[in-house]
């Protein structure tokens, strides 16, 4: 492995350049000023670190366990709240967390981080992806199709499904999230239909059918429960948590790491951020750049991977001042 200092400083002596307290590498230095050899070597070094923390080299079974347990608790909140064992507000709070957290767990499955195709673990990857997305009332197939498009065309205002969340500040991001949930032509549903049409693959068409099927099944459940006198329970245990969770997903997991939504390059389409909710409160979104660079690294390992990658990212001109 090359010495990172040689690559970044052209051999000049700067003993404190890589220390936490030191001046580090000039952040304004864009990676396009590096010659092709340096860029290639940096990419190799970055990939070596990425592979060290890749899903096959770190433990990912907790995601499966969390998905199974949370799904069981999610289902259990309905009888428990109806029978008065737990208060409705508690069920509402728990299920709101499950909606947002479920997306994060399902997200690992979208990148096949819980089991590659052709392996024995693939079943658990798919099972986790599907059940973790149930509280969202969206099928794993649709979430995966849209998320992979997001990775392919990050911040492209037309082609990136998540570009719909662009907003000038976090308050407007929450408002936008709600507006995007409206049933009309400006909403997420209409945009996703367009993306599915443009993809045109059998998988994309199946994802659209899955979306209609799961929404019909869940709405039928809503109507049946309401007809049976449990409309308030369903509203507080599923309808409201879904909206709270979606607001969190859009404002914290989508808007924050990509704003101002104008970078489309490998190193500027997202960033290393310090979120006001902290690392755990933002479900690890602060190292989102590492995820976009190496989606095969599970979210819990992105922080450790970033620590090792930081000098390389700085050499690329990435702003690493947040962490």
């Amino acid at each position: 492995m090359n010495d990172i200092r040689d690559l970044m400083l052209g051999g000049q002596t700067a003993p404190d350049a890589l220390t936490r307290e030191g001046p580090a590498i000039p952040l304004a230095r864009p990676d396009r000023e590096l010659d092709a050899h340096a860029r290639k070597t940096l990419a190799q070094m970055e990939r070596e670190i990425g592979l060290k923390y890749a899903a096959q080299n770190v433990s990912t079974w907790p995601y499966v366990a969390i998905a199974l347990v949370c799904f069981a608790v999610f289902v259990a909140t309905f009888p428990l709240a109806i029978m008065g064992v737990i208060p409705l507000w508690l069920g509402c709070a728990i299920n709101s967390v499950f909606v947002a957290g479920g997306y994060v767990v399902s997200h690992e499955a979208m990148h096949s981080n819980l089991g590659r195709e052709g392996t024995k673990a693939r079943f658990w990857n798919e099972l986790t992806g599907w059940i973790a997305a149930v509280p969202l009332i969206l099928p794993f197939s649709m979430l995966k199709a849209m998320h992979l498009l997001h990775h392919q065309y990050t911040n492209d205002p037309i082609k990136d499904p998540d570009a719909i969340h662009a907003a000038p500040n976090v308050f407007m991001a929450v408002i936008k999230s709600w507006l995007n949930r409206q049933p009309g032509p400006i909403g997420t549903a209409a945009r996703w239909r367009r993306h599915i049409g443009e993809l045109g693959t059998p998988e994309a068409k199946a994802a659209l059918k899955h979306t209609m099927a799961i929404q019909l099944v869940v709405l039928s459940f809503f109507f049946a429960m309401a007809r049976s006198g449990y409309a308030i329970e369903v509203a507080l245990l599923w309808w409201l948590p879904r909206h709270i969770g979606l607001s969190y997903i859009h404002a914290v997991l989508s808007w924050a790491p990509h704003q101002p939504h104008n970078g489309v390059g490998r190193y500027d389409s997202t960033a290393i951020i310090r979120h006001k909710l902290g690392h755990w409160g933002s479900l690890g979104i602060d190292f989102h750049l590492v995820h976009h660079l190496h989606p095969y690294i599970p979210v819990h390992a992105c922080k450790a991977a970033y620590r090792e990658m930081k000098p390389i990212l700085e050499a690329r001109g990435v702003d690493c001042s947040a962490h």
Partner: protein, 64 residues
Amino acid sequence: MEVALKKLFTVMPLIFGIGFIAPLIAQTMAAWHWEAPLGLTRIAFGLTIGAAWGLYATLRGRWV
């Protein structure tokens, strides 16, 4: 089948208004011991609001 489903989803806000919002309004009023105005039953009042709101959302493409 697919065309029928697409048409069903086009009017889904109206169905949601009748099938879910209406009973939600009626049951919330009952839980808080509110009577419906104009001599209506709670569910009739809920259906009036739910259907009107759902129809508005269907026609306008937004709930508010």
